[in-house]
Symmetry: C2
Subunit: 434 residues, 2 copies
């Protein structure tokens, strides 16, 4: 009864690494997690699935077409598309048990059924850290998240620049010119300013009712970039609107904290808007230093009321997120990782038929000493075992013949230099760990 074979296929747009790449990726995650921990963020690991009612609260239960949504039995559920809504759900459920400001991180996979394209995946990792306040939240928290972004990149030895703005400056100006009713539309046009031809964005702004002067002003506003004093000097004359002024003051305050915290890579840049409309104040994005053209690889901002769909309590928050899947792809291209350094085997024990038992014991002894030792029990001859060690780029082999078993001194061979000499277990461990 021959069964028909099924073609083994992975879903399109789903990420899967080969083992050595996986080891590199895991090392990135571990370094970022360390930064989060040192900065006193606590881990959270919410479920991948949530009630659709909860996850889609913002859109009144409407499904965004990107979301993986389905029913099982009578339960309508979704796979998470970010960590922010699950965080809001968690904080709302446990607000009486948590300490505020609640600083949590979450590292894991999120799901978006977008059209797969270069650098975009349907399942991908996110590294998020957020600070949630109860009632109010100092701008120290914003500085902390910006500094945290810098620290993640410092931990990876990567040069970063963080571009910071406050949405209040823009929204204040739009209020001032009496265009509050088309606020979101204007922000959408402005967010795409560097992707559209100048005439096209001018046309769209005109259509939204902006005069030529207003267009010019708002375009000049959004092109403002520099150190804090330059930005404030340039902008403070533009408007006396209270929101606008508050935005500038918030930037100034955050900059003060950042300087105390030792931040050196911040640039103020009014073009930073960030698509998500839940941001209400400070927003920021991280770029490879001098490479804004490559797009942001991390970002974040402040939202005035994280849990508004779930509770009457006002809970402002500020958070940052590293697009780790995208970052990893880029680092792979740049040969950031030494793949040869990712060998899972530190040392192979090469046995003869008659020394299999003692060799198994030696492998265990090496592992007990923290050496990732392996034995090639599928390769039958000495020659094929040595060939396997070569093929797998193992740096050290330990050869175990009957004499070695008797003397408890084994032949350690460095496969790169071909040097070899007889040593005790302890000596072998010292050489390999060096």
């Amino acid at each position: 009864m021959e069964e028909k074979l099924i073609t083994p296929r992975k879903l399109q747009g789903f990420w899967e690494l080969m083992p050595r790449e996986q080891r590199c990726f895991s090392s990135l995650l571990a370094k970022i997690e360390d930064v989060f921990k040192t900065n006193c963020f606590v881990p959270l690991d919410t479920p991948v699935l949530e009630y659709s009612e909860v996850l889609l609260a913002k859109s009144g239960g409407e499904t965004d077409k990107e979301v993986y949504r389905f029913t099982k039995g009578s339960t309508d559920m979704c796979m998470r598309y970010d960590f922010t809504v699950p965080l809001a759900r968690f904080v709302s459920m446990h607000k009486d048990e948590l300490s505020f400001p609640f600083k949590r991180y979450q590292i894991g996979k999120v799901y978006r059924g977008e059209k797969p394209q270069k650098g975009r995946y349907r399942e991908f990792y996110q590294c998020d850290a957020d600070i949630i306040g109860n009632g109010e939240l100092s701008f120290v928290a914003d500085a902390e998240c910006i500094r945290l972004l810098e620290k993640c990149f410092e931990a990876l030895n990567l040069d970063v620049e963080v571009r910071v703005s406050s949405r209040k400056i823009l929204t204040g100006y739009i209020e001032e010119i009496g265009k509050t009713n088309v606020m979101t539309d204007i922000l959408i046009v402005l967010d795409k300013l560097d992707k559209l031809p100048a005439e096209e964005s001018a046309r769209q702004l005109k259509e939204l009712g902006l005069t030529e002067k207003e267009q010019k002003n708002i375009t000049s506003l959004i092109q403002t970039t520099g150190q804090i004093d330059d930005v404030i000097q340039k902008l403070s004359k533009l408007s006396k609107n209270a929101t606008f002024v508050e935005g500038l003051e918030n930037l100034k305050e955050v900059d003060g904290y950042l300087k105390q915290m030792g931040s050196k890579n911040v640039i103020y840049d009014l073009s930073i808007i960030r698509g998500h409309n839940y941001y209400t104040s400070i927003v920021f994005e991280g770029f490879f230093a001098g490479r804004k053209d490559m797009g942001a690889i991390a970002g974040g901002g402040r939202f005035d009321n994280l849990c508004g769909y779930f509770t009457d309590k006002k809970m402002p928050g500020v958070g940052m997120s590293v697009g780790i899947t995208r970052l990893f792809s880029h680092l792979m291209q740049e040969n950031y990782f030494d793949l040869e350094d990712q060998n899972e085997i530190d040392c192979a024990v090469i046995n003869f038929d008659e020394t299999l038992g003692q060799s198994l014991a030696l492998v265990e002894d090496l592992r007990k000493c923290g050496v990732n030792a392996e034995i090639f029990y599928e390769n039958k001859t000495f020659k094929s075992k040595m060939k396997e060690a070569n093929r797998r780029q193992v740096k050290y082999v330990v050869i175990v013949g009957e004499d070695e078993v008797k003397s408890k001194r084994y032949m350690l061979k460095n496969m790169q230099t071909s040097e070899q000499s007889q040593m005790t277990l302890e000596e072998i461990v010292n050489v390999i760990k060096k």
Copy 2:
């Protein structure tokens, strides 16, 4: 425009820990991952979603009602319910690039829409390690997986016993008595022997056509337990069937390797069958020592042909899996973890209004030295900051007044002993890290 609030709810049967518990759980995972790495298993992180055709290959595309299956666009997909089928899919796709025996581990969440009940979750973690051969696979691999199970528990300082059998002994005996046609039914009855009254299982075996003598023999066979020589002595007279004899020989061979590997916790126990019908030879389960009644907390076995649905190539495998979610729940009940030791804050910096800036800088300096330092910027008064440090069970606080800023000697207070003295940053780090 007041919006209606949505009740924040988590899906029933989905696991979610509070931060301190999460830190404990992560520490378990990290210890097990370390064991896998030291034993030269490589990491794999397959997608949570797979094509239904692939994931349900075994059942010819039929959905088991436990599986989360849905379509998006025209794609029919499932959430993984274990790591074994995704492993088979991965190995079949990449068999020409991988080194065999291919030793991989995967730690992550799997999904089963079972009725939620105590200790059973719909989303739970599994820690799997498997060894896949290309064509053939030595019984050294079985010993390695059994030993690996022991090592996971050794790493957690838990006493374990591993009960080992070979399904060939049972299936050989069933062949011998001419009941091959009802093999699976007999195995199902035998697998539940300790859950059913003796008369009930006798009745079921009779119904399957076993004579009273055969019932007695098979019940006695399955109750055989002990060290290898006792088991072989007791059973070798029972049958000359080739499969039966092979099963006994396999056990003997595995036992030899296990002894060389330093295993001390293995008991041979013919009642170990394991439900999954893909196991074909060696099977084993791990229990808390002396607590078989509590049920297995880990297990595994050998399957003759892992990838049979995807490729003509014969790929035998042997694997083990730790039911980490269940293990964790048990350890929590037993107060295995010191939750007070899970504080995310090593040290709180207590500032006055006028020293906020310098205190932020000091927090950064402490973090740079690897101390998880925190500052309570939401608490306005000195008193409320100290209260917060107490409430959060912080062990050390550093008090930063203007004099301290000038002298760069800060007041370190041990909150448990109330001892305090002025110290430099370096001295503070040394005390806290001690």
